[in-house]
Subunit: 246 residues, 2 copies
């Protein structure tokens, strides 16, 4: 068996997220495993760097898998792209160290959440945008986003219920920028809890609307109370941009 690392792009609109759920599910992982199983004629288990939810997109999801094959790296990549639907693509693939594991070895991930801030829809990119018609105060959002930096317990910014594992995470960088009618929230960290980026983005939108103050973020860290954070924005605005390894 050889071990492979690959980078995958997808428009998540039509899918129930990354992770395979049983045999009949409509997931990105399921589509990829099915094609590799047809190619190799053996069972394939793929490890993504992490799940992405229903409707969430990826520009640089990373996955690893072990297969038995005589094909070259570029032949495997071409085979996958030939059989994948139009909204999933493999953009890089290479044989790698047998110990490489896309989830366990990931050290940093970057997500972007895109907000379309206009009453005039963007018809060409609406699949990747969450729309807020009223003008948002981007300066307030920038100030607030900086409060996410560093190590914090993000339990209040997540939909996590069980408390067995640590809910501390470190955020290395955040940015909020307006590009024309779009506001992009980008965040890099060592890991993210369930729904964490969507709740962080929802909290920033409420700050941009003037419905809450930037300091309310600190209160959520102190209390770990999900009720005190903003709403969970829809998956469609979220894209996993990149995953880094040592």
């Amino acid at each position: 068996m050889k071990n492979y690392k690959m980078t995958v792009q997808y428009d998540g609109t039509r899918y129930d997220g990354w992770q395979r759920q049983g045999n009949t599910s409509n997931t990105i992982q399921g589509k990829l495993e099915n094609i590799l199983e047809r190619m190799t004629e053996h069972k394939v288990e793929m490890h993504g760097s992490g799940r992405t939810d229903k409707g969430v997109h990826a520009k640089g999801q990373v996955a690893s898998f072990k297969i038995r094959t005589e094909k070259t790296d570029s032949e495997i990549m071409d085979y996958l792209n030939h059989y994948l639907p139009d909204d999933i693509a493999v953009t890089a693939l290479s044989e790698t160290d047998e110990r490489f594991h896309a989830r366990l070895n990931a050290v940093r991930k970057t997500y972007v959440y895109r907000i379309h801030n206009s009453s005039v829809p963007n018809v060409f990119e609406q699949r990747f945008l969450y729309t807020v018609e009223d003008e948002l105060n981007v300066d307030a959002m920038k100030t607030a986003a900086k409060l996410f930096l560093g190590e914090h317990d993000f339990l209040g910014f997540s939909s996590v219920k069980k408390l067995k594992k640590s809910t501390k995470r470190t955020i290395y960088s955040v940015g909020v920028e307006r590009f024309g009618d779009d506001i992009v929230f980008a965040v890099t960290g060592n890991g993210f809890l369930y729904n964490m980026v969507r709740i962080m983005a929802g909290t920033l939108v409420e700050i941009g609307k003037g419905e809450r103050i930037p300091e309310s973020i600190t209160e959520v860290f102190d209390t770990k109370n999900r009720e005190l954070a903003g709403i969970t924005l829809p998956g469609k605005g979220l894209t996993l941009l990149s995953v880094e390894y040592e």
Copy 2:
């Protein structure tokens, strides 16, 4: 009755083109007229600058229509954007001279045809791209595109069958540029025959593949023979960029 000029954007993927065809058709014009008829409670006839075919997109289609209303320009625009589906948007709307007619007064139109030139799909923009996997010779395409400039009889570059009206058109500017994996063909002219841009683009792709020489364009002008031009590329790669008026 007041006369209005408006600019419309659409992702044409789901539609049978711009022009209303009977009462049951799924067209951009049909969607817009229906909403204005509901708003005004009278019949509305809209004039687009020209038809766009099934699957063709527009960033700056222009249309005119006469309605009876007490609403302000921005109220009409908001009303339309509220009831339009996500893939159609009105980006500008204003009352105009009563003699303005979006088709009869148009003096210049610009179209772009986008080719994705890679074996790795672009999952985020595939709805707006036609894919050619083998690398195209962009320099040959640039040289060839210049032969379209000026006034010519474009009958051979069209799917027009009847010969009653003139098939002469003037091309003011053309451009072929590579942006990463995408090749964009942009063309501005005083008017375009049925399927003309798609056949011009198909001819350029065949030149880029080395299947024909740039001078074959001159032969199509001389013979007016559709058989000697390239294939008609699919509508999905085509976008009406802008329409100009005096």
